[in-house]
């Protein structure tokens, strides 16, 4: 509630000073909108609720509802993890990039896999022409995984792996590679993305239909609860939903709707909420509309805490904490005047930090054109370091709290995301909503509206539809050689010659048996197959035959 005397004073200001000013010179636009198309008022006023309802709406850092952050001291205690997503070509070349980034002050590794790996295909599969080593590193067997982490101490470095449909296989390879370094699995720290629902919605690297996919996710939860207790078993991702065109509200709503589905799956598999929920993590995008993004992160935290406590009856505070990784918005980068992207990324990174992120990837200026060069990646990392050490925004917790505008936006985003979740609940949850194409359609529409606003110049993108410059940017681009596939196939063949084929056959047979038994956990047989140097294509092949493949329908 806005106090009555203020409301009246504001009305008088609008009728008087504002009218006089705008009659002399009108405002730049009839409508002011956020990047997500939300109407923005000229001025926001203090709301008494922020004081009266402070404990429910804001609370203290590290306490329910976590609006102001999940840690008690936030960045005064420890900065966010600076984790640059990287990977290309072969394990050897990616290993070199990781070591470089760690030397430069990165504090965690984040692995990008190539598309064949993400879809569970070996590099020699016919469907992989042109794709091996392109958008990430090619991993066929444990042998590649060992090379990927050579010289990187897995007991000290935490690793995030962007892997979804075959997440169980890559996690097993990571565990096995760590064992070879003498690091036992209970000491491993890191994250697998393991969020297959958003693959159906927005990202496209699905393999199996939803039911067996959800079973694999829940098997990973159960296995890690016992065996890899420090591992974050999923990173429920709004990032790709946003990249596909969703608004800020849709990003929060669809991500939390996915979370609800994973939680319900785990609960129906008999896992107790407070045992698996503390290991769930999230991943969001940071776009350039600074204040809307800050509000989005705060709203997501409050909404999740509330869902976990009220809907799922979580008791452990850690189950209610929405911990998240942020990546600056790839889709906001422009191919034109690429240096401008450094500025966009800086604003976006600030949004993530004001929003209380736990880890951050900053994009490189050249990524609208190709994978980033080492120089571009270095500037991106330095951007985080400048924010962390020079800007001063890390000195106090949740510094934008109490901004009349940010608090209002936080309330609006939370409320609208909650309404979307109710809509999805009415459809029977996120899986039916995906199968009906509802979520995809909502995103596609939002993307179209946004795109048209750029096409007709209602929205200015500097260097693209205004302030343009003649000529192609002169910029060195990173290239992945077409020979990578041949080299990768050669390595795979060497592994196949060297390994004990009988052991591989036996491991795959056991996996097939486990796949047919809904009560069995798939992680142990996958781990055994990985140890025998079975390839990702062989392991996923067994699962493909057992579970079938998902086929998206288009209207």
């Amino acid at each position: 509630m806005i106090p009555e005397h203020l409301r009246k004073a504001a009305q008088a200001w609008t009728d008087g000073a504002v009218r006089r000013a705008t009659s002399k010179s009108p405002e730049r636009s009839e409508r002011f909108e956020t990047a997500s198309g939300r109407l923005v008022d000229r001025l926001y006023l203090p709301d008494e609720d922020q004081i009266i309802k402070y404990p429910d709406k804001l609370g203290f850092p590290g306490e329910y509802p976590f609006t102001r952050g999940v840690q008690t001291t936030m960045y005064r205690g420890r900065l966010w993890t600076m984790r640059q997503y990287a990977g290309f070509s072969t394990a050897e070349e990616s290993n070199e990039r990781y070591r470089y980034l760690l030397q430069q002050g990165s504090t965690g590794v984040s692995v990008a896999f190539d598309l064949p790996t993400q879809i569970g295909l070996d590099s020699d599969d016919d469907r992989c022409i042109g794709e091996v080593g392109k958008v990430g590193v090619a991993i066929d067997t444990l042998d590649d995984m060992e090379r990927l982490f050579e010289g990187i101490p897995l007991d000290r470095v935490s690793t995030s792996m962007t892997i979804n449909a075959p997440a169980a296989v890559l996690l097993a390879m990571y565990i096995a590679a760590a064992e070879k370094q003498g690091v036992s699995k209970d000491r491993l720290a890191g994250t697998i993305q393991n969020d297959v629902l958003k693959e159906y919605i927005a990202r496209g690297t699905y393999i199996f239909p939803p039911p067996p996919s959800l079973r694999i996710v829940s098997d990973i939860f159960a296995y890690c609860m016992q065996e890899v207790p420090r591992w974050n078993t999923i990173s429920i991702s709004g990032y790709h939903i946003r990249e596909a065109g969703a608004t800020a509200v849709q990003e929060v709503a669809f991500t939390l709707a996915d979370a609800i589905c994973y939680i319900e799956t785990a609960l129906s598999a008999g896992l107790p909420i407070d045992q698996f929920a503390p290991r769930l993590t999230f991943f969001f995008a940071a776009h350039t509309d600074l204040l809307e993004e800050v509000a989005k992160f705060r709203a997501a935290r409050r909404l999740y805490a509330n869902l976990m406590r009220e809907r799922f009856g979580a008791q452990d505070a850690r189950s209610m904490m929405l911990r998240f990784h942020t990546q600056t918005g790839g889709v906001t980068l422009t191919a034109q005047q690429p240096d401008n992207n450094i500025v966009r990324v800086t604003i976006q990174a600030l949004a993530a930090v004001f929003g209380g992120t736990q880890s951050l990837h900053t994009n490189s200026k050249d990524e609208a054109l190709a994978l980033p060069t080492e120089d571009a990646v270095t500037v991106a990392l330095r951007t985080q370091q400048i924010i962390a050490y020079e800007s001063g925004v890390t000195n106090t917790i949740d510094p934008l709290a109490g901004s009349f505008f940010v608090e209002k936006l936080t309330d609006q985003i939370e409320e609208e995301a909650r309404a979307y979740i109710q809509e999805i609940d009415k459809m029977g949850g996120v899986v039916p909503a995906i199968e009906r194409g509802y979520i995809q359609h909502e995103i596609e529409e939002a993307a179209y509206v946004y795109g048209r606003s750029i096409d007709d110049k209602r929205r200015v993108i500097v260097g693209v539809n205004d302030f343009t410059a003649e000529g192609e940017p002169d910029i060195d681009l990173f290239e992945v050689s077409e020979e990578v596939r041949a080299r990768q196939i050669e390595k795979l063949n060497r592994v196949r010659e060297r390994r004990n084929q009988a052991a591989v056959d036996e491991a795959l047979r056991c996996l097939q048996e486990a796949a047919g038994d809904a009560k069995a956990n798939l992680m142990p047989p996958i781990l055994a197959a990985v140890h025998a140097y079975a390839s990702i294509g062989e392991i996923c092949g067994v699962l493909r035959r057992a579970f079938g493949e998902y086929e998206e329908r288009y209207s």
């Binding site: 042109g130 794709e131 693959e199 990202r203 690297t205 990249e243 596909a244 191919a335 190709a370 096409d455």
Partner: protein, 138 residues
């Protein structure tokens, strides 16, 4: 009467289809009949869909960097199937030095990030003018 038939296709393993869907939507709104293949199609599937659907243009969208290999394969298959009257354009994260190479192999236009809707619509209508109005496969 639609202005022309166009297949928008996603070759390879890349799942990023915001651009493909956007262009499909844009062309539909501009009066074309558009068929979208969905993601992860092989060049064989794309060419066979193009012939079956009797389209005049194929728009290939790819962001994974596999464009040189996959666009070439689509063009080769069109030619093998005596369907090279179907013209091909493309889009995605494609470095400028590859664009010349793609154009040399027969891709008629390449749209990179930031291309305006007007420029896409102009190019498409120009390509269709070059098309024989009677389809050769009937």
């Amino acid at each position: 009467m639609p202005k022309g038939r166009i297949l928008i296709a996603k070759p390879g393993l890349d799942g990023h289809d915001r651009g493909a869907k956007y262009v499909a939507h844009l062309l539909r709104d501009a009066g074309y009949e558009v068929i979208y293949t969905g993601i992860r199609k092989t060049p064989e599937q794309i060419v066979s869909a193009a012939i079956q659907e009797d389209v005049q243009l194929i728009g290939l969208s790819l962001l994974s960097g596999a464009h040189n290999v996959l666009f070439r394969r689509v063009l080769a298959l069109l030619s093998e199937n005596h369907a090279d009257d179907i013209l091909v354009f493309g889009g995605g994260t494609i470095p400028s030095k590859d664009i010349a190479q793609l154009e040399a192999m027969g891709v008629k236009a390449v749209f990179t990030p930031g291309t305006s809707a007007d420029s896409i619509l102009d190019t498409v209508s120009r390509l269709l003018e070059k098309q024989p109005s009677v389809n050769l496969h009937e």
